[in-house]
């Protein structure tokens, strides 16, 4: 069976790959959006934290013999802790200044982390085994779905939903949203806003770390795996707007799918299609698809 002269297996395969990439985009831009909402800082180091998550998982498995499920839990927590330390020590000093300084500080963290890991592990990738329980593929009738890829999609969507639920439907999320709108007033109600801010940064980068562990068996674990991703995430965020949580998730997934289709029909453009979509959105709807006017 063919669609536009492309065998349906190939089409579905690329579509699935697109959804996998889209899941990463969704988790990453979700973290970026949460951090931006509360800290008003664009976290350039988001890709570096993604890389940190993958490397932590790799090191845990390599040296402590931890199994995949342990690393999936421990590595994001470690990344979150490291992020909170960074926020508490450095990022905190820049609040109230132009947000550009936050971007630049997190950029410098990228240089330090990427450079450091390159010194320690070299530029080439480290292989990371797919967990045994998730090896193989299932026959869906029209295509074979590698189990691990399916697992990535489900896990990513699940963590997105949980995050959305915590923010929109719990008391903690309510204080978080309050702090986003009016930090000083929230503080006046007796909520410890600085601690909330640290926690938010931790959760945001923890999400990036989680995505990193998920990505480890698919991509090779290497020091620069995060930086090319973070630039795509920035484009996703410009397209979707940083204003809404759901917007970030939907835009991320959608662009992954668009990218997948582009790889089928016009593979030369597959690495640039997200940027081209960004140009189009800027021309037609400068504020972004889900964007409120920036304030």
């Amino acid at each position: 069976m063919d669609v536009f002269g492309i065998p349906i297996q190939a089409l579905m395969g690329q579509l699935m790959l697109g959804i996998v990439n889209g899941s990463f985009y969704a988790v990453m831009s979700l973290g970026l959006a949460i951090i931006f909402g509360v800290l008003k800082i664009v976290n350039f180091a988001h890709g570096a934290f993604f890389m940190l998550g993958a490397f932590t998982a790799f090191l845990l498995a390599q040296h402590l013999g931890a199994n995949y499920w342990t690393t999936l839990l421990v590595a994001p927590l470690a990344v979150a802790l490291f992020g909170m330390l960074f926020e508490w020590l450095f990022l905190r000093r820049l609040y109230g200044l132009d947000p550009i300084y936050g971007l630049l500080l997190t950029f410098s963290l990228v240089l330090v982390l990427e450079g450091g890991f390159r010194v320690a592990f070299g530029s080439s990738g480290q292989p990371f085994a797919t967990p045994e329980a998730l090896q193989g593929a299932i026959n869906l009738g029209f295509m074979y779905l590698p189990v691990y890829r399916g697992f990535v999609i489900v896990a990513a969507l699940l963590i997105c939903l949980v995050t959305w639920f915590v923010i929109e439907r719990t008391a903690l999320g309510a204080s978080l949203r309050a702090a986003t709108e009016r930090a000083e007033l929230t503080q006046a109600f007796g909520i410890n806003v600085p601690r909330l801010v640290t926690l938010t940064y931790g959760v945001g980068v923890g999400l990036a770390g989680f995505a990193g562990v998920l990505a480890a068996p698919i991509f090779h674990v290497n020091p620069s795996m995060g930086s090319s991703l973070v630039i795509i995430i920035f484009a996703v965020v410009v397209i979707g707007g940083l204003g809404s949580i759901m917007g970030a998730i939907v835009t991320g997934l959608g662009l992954g799918v668009v990218e997948g289709f582009t790889r089928v029909f016009y593979s030369e453009f597959s690495s640039t299609i997200v940027f081209l979509v960004m140009v189009l959105v800027l021309l037609l709807r400068p504020a972004g698809l889900f964007g409120r006017e920036e304030g």
Binding site: L109, R118, I232, V237, E268, L283, E294
Partner: protein
Amino acid sequence: MQLRYLTWPLLAVGLLALLAVPFFPQVVYIVFVMKALCFVLFACAFNLLLGHTGILSFGHAAFFGTGAYVTGHLVKTYGLPTELGILAGGLVAALLGAVIGALAIRRSGIYLAMITLAMSQLVFFFFLQAPFAGAEDGLQRIPRGTFLGVLDLNNDTALYYVVVGIVGGGLWVVWRTVNSPFGHVLRAIREHEPRAISLGYPVARYKVLVFSLSAGLSGIAGSLKAIIFQLAALYDVHWHTSGDVILMTLLGGMNTVFGPAVGAAIVAALNHYLDPFGAWVTVIIGVVFMACVLTFRQGVVGELSRLLNRRRIAPLRQPAGRRTRAHH
């Protein structure tokens, strides 16, 4: 003593030192000085946006690299005279700057930074995939040629003086722009964009113009780099280079005209002399960057002039704790 009064004597001393460089090959490596000069022009051109208009572009490597590739390709494949090649590199970069600028200024602040970064990544992929650009190898063995048909540029000393001349001309353009009525409008936009609009200035047009000018000069810097090293490579369009130029500007002092030049010299020296440490260079540069953002946001020249100012008229004038005005 204000730094302002020291500007001309310092410039004169600096120029003399530059002219003397070829006579002391045992003290300083002439090719390194040429490379540093390219970055001096690049950083000062970049600062037209960051320091003088309050726009952070995170994609200036796109213009630097485009200059390098265009010049390299024209000189190597079509045998264009070197000076025309450099001019073409600057022009194409300026055009690209107008296009990217027009897109980017549809948003402001950090969004603008992200857009320029994404656009420069687009340019990066273009040079990665374009058949003439040689993919991972880049353009190699670009002939240096002659300058105006008389001066053989394969001679390092001759090339050096040509580079000094062109960079000097570029810096003069920057200085004239900053001190022109046009430059005053740019500062008005930086300080209070809505007021500049309400005064009737076509702010968008001004922004695109300065974007294009900054991109053109950055392109010339890249063209020179391609001629000096006879190489245009992917690193020239890589976001690392965009980050480098921001660091240079910040480190030197973005609220000064020639501070970025000092910053460029420092970063180029760091890169050059720390080269034996390999991958550690990135870490060290990152730490310097961090220290710069956290503790001395006025940069070396900015802090210096603040110190000098304070000695004389400390109670009268607050040290200008100015920061870029970015409206978002």
